[in-house]
């Protein structure tokens, strides 16, 4: 019985909330496009754009992918693992990036 109830379980979140999240995502995209024409130095630009993209990814995962409403154990299973693996790749990228940009003979 409980299984059947979960099958037609109310999916948390209202149309209004999803619309609001969508509007935020579009607004953040607009800010990113605006920033692209601000003639910032590449590192500041990269950090700003990545920061905004991480916020957008967070919104998508939390609301659209429903992670906010799942059991927290699922979040702990997915997010740290992904961050660790991406972090390991990035950890190799930054020293090499520095070497290439500042220590080129």
């Amino acid at each position: 019985m409980s299984a059947h109830a979960s099958e037609t379980h109310e999916f948390a979140g209202t149309t209004k909330m999803f619309l609001l999240v969508w509007l935020w995502l579009v607004a953040l995209t607009g800010i990113e496009v605006y920033l692209a024409y601000k003639h910032l130095d590449p590192l500041s630009m990269l950090l700003l754009l990545i920061g905004l993209s991480v916020i957008k990814a967070g919104l998508i995962m939390a609301y659209f992918m429903h992670l906010k409403f799942e059991r927290f154990a699922l979040v702990l299973w997915i997010v740290p693992a992904a961050l660790l693996c991406i972090g390991l790749m990035a950890a190799l990228f930054f020293p090499d990036g520095y070497r290439l940009l500042h220590m080129r003979p």
Partner: protein, 208 residues
């Protein structure tokens, strides 16, 4: 089926099979998405690494058409994610008609994205960009650009087919609300990846 689901949803302290309280399909999709995250991270880092290591990296994206196109593509993809979440919510309410229509709108969003992206590719190809050369600078640009965006476009195309199958199956009563939700996870992930490709590839290489 209901018995297996009961075990999965029970509390782990009372002998439940899953500490995450989700079905195996959803768990499997999350695992796949985790591995796909690494694939895309590697491709994005390869692009960025090539860019940093080549001072003559081209900046081939003028406001019109490239940035206008890619911004519209971003909004289209975001909107398809919205219709997707509407489909999932309708699925849980048991509203078959709403699920199918929202899935159709989501697929149309995906198809619009592919058409716009292919048009944008054709602009670059017409200007002489190839995977091994381009008229402006480092030849690695083509390989990394087409590799990364092509991989993403493939995901969108596969997603459109996947959603089509889910729409037909759910419309005929063969698939459950969980199946719609699992396909939704895939679609939102494809959207999420674009949220990184768009700024890192397009906005970082704007031609002023």
């Amino acid at each position: 089926m209901s018995e297996a689901k009961d075990v999965a949803l029970e509390s782990p302290w009372s002998g439940g099979g899953s500490p995450f309280a989700i079905g195996s399909k959803k768990l499997g999709m999350w695992l796949f998405l985790l591995s796909d995250t690494l694939t895309f991270s590697a491709l994005i880092l390869a692009y960025t690494y090539s860019r940093v290591s080549n001072p003559d990296w081209p900046k081939p994206f003028p406001f019109s058409p490239a940035i206008i196109f890619s911004t519209i593509m971003t909004v289209v993809l975001l909107f398809s994610s919205f219709t997707m979440v509407m489909a999932v919510a309708a699925g849980h309410r048991g509203n078959r008609r709403a699920v199918v229509w929202n899935l159709i709108f989501t697929m149309l969003g995906g198809i619009a994205f592919i058409v716009l992206h292919m048009t944008e590719w054709m602009h670059l190809i017409a200007e002489g960009v190839r995977p091994w050369s381009n008229p402006w600078g480092s030849p690695q640009f083509g390989a990394t650009f087409f590799g990364l965006t092509g991989m993403h476009m493939t995901h969108v195309a596969v997603g459109v087919v996947y959603l089509g199958i889910i729409a037909i199956g759910f419309g005929r009563g063969k698939f459950s609300a969980e199946d719609v939700e699992v396909s939704g996870l895939y679609w939102h992930f494809v959207d999420l990846v674009w949220m990184f490709i768009f700024p890192m590839v397009y906005l970082m290489s704007v031609k002023y």
